[in-house]
């Protein structure tokens, strides 16, 4: 099973993960890392390296909050074809999707990341637009 790492600014990742477990129940093979004010980028990178290496045989997807932010910049350094993928802009529907899909061993890490990102993108709606198109 592909391992999941959630690396964000502050406690966003931890709380987001708790929210996802409220919906789909307890999840294994998930690591939460956080960048706080004063966090050393090198220390976070070392923690990430340890996690990605330990789980090397199964592959990892690192979820980050914002493309261009430190969590994402650090993670991209671990991008490794077939073994480690990075998906930015993490949201709740993305986590739900990855937790349900990752048991499917036929999916490569990259394919899993693509499907997860699509679920995240598709979940963003402006309600007024939907109503406007379909009802009004």
């Amino acid at each position: 099973m592909v391992n999941i790492v959630i690396l964000t600014h502050g406690l966003f990742g931890e709380e987001l993960f708790k929210a996802s477990e409220m919906i789909v129940g307890k999840q294994d093979r998930v690591e939460i890392l956080s960048i706080q004010d004063g966090s050393s980028v090198h220390e976070i990178a070392a923690q990430l390296e340890a996690i990605v290496n330990v789980n090397g045989q199964y592959g990892s997807i690192i979820f980050t909050d914002m493309f261009g932010g430190s969590p994402s910049n650090i993670s991209i350094g671990f991008l490794d074809s077939g073994k480690c993928e990075v998906v930015s802009g993490v949201n709740l529907p993305m986590l739900l999707k990855v937790f349900s899909l990752r048991n499917d061993t036929d999916l490569s890490v990259h394919e899993l990341a693509l499907q997860t990102a699509k679920a995240g993108n598709d979940s963003i709606k402006v309600a007024g637009e939907i109503l406007h198109k379909d009802i009004l």
Binding site: G38, M66, G68, N73
Partner: protein, 170 residues
């Protein structure tokens, strides 16, 4: 604000730099000076790919920067120059056009450095001395300044505070 924003930040380009500085001042030209990133095609690509639209990033080595004629190459508009450490600042400060530059420190979060400046900037004594030296030599104040809308902290004030602490300890 001076036209050239010269920043020391060990995370180089990240959320605070993009939202706080590049977008706030609508900076179109950014130079990242770091030997190891300049030497690494993948890292260079990553930093270029996170630039906001209309902002152009150049990554260069310390040697390349020292040969750059900044004021002639970048005649108009804001220019953001970023290095990753006080030591790199020391190596290149001879080529900073000081009268046009605002020198500021962002994140420097090396865990064993024990002089707190802001919640994400910690220096050791050697780095503090180096900043004070550059500041005095060029009569130029240097600030720790996380975001442009926050109050900057003058490094000389931190230096004076450290001196007072030492006096009290003696």
């Amino acid at each position: 604000m001076e036209r050239i924003i010269f920043r020391v930040d060990d995370r180089f380009i990240h959320g605070q730099v993009i939202e706080g500085w590049i977008n706030h001042f609508r900076i179109k030209n950014i130079i990242l000076i770091n030997d190891s990133i300049a030497d690494d095609v993948k890292k260079t690509f990553i930093y270029k790919s996170i630039m906001p639209r209309n902002a152009k990033l150049e990554v260069m080595s310390i040697d390349s920067f020292l040969q750059l004629d900044i004021l002639n190459e970048y005649k108009k508009g804001y220019l953001l120059i970023i290095v990753g450490s006080i030591n790199d600042l020391k190596l290149i400060n001879s080529n900073i056009p000081l009268e046009h530059s605002y020198i500021n420190i962002g994140c420097l979060a090396t865990s064993n450095h024990d002089i707190p400046v802001t919640d994400n900037c910690f220096l050791n004594q050697e780095e503090l001395d180096c900043l004070v030296h550059i500041s005095e030599k060029h009569s130029k104040d240097i600030y720790a300044h996380k975001l442009p809308w926050e109050k900057p902290i003058n490094i000389n004030d931190i230096h004076n505070k450290q001196m007072n602490i030492k006096k009290i300890q003696e």
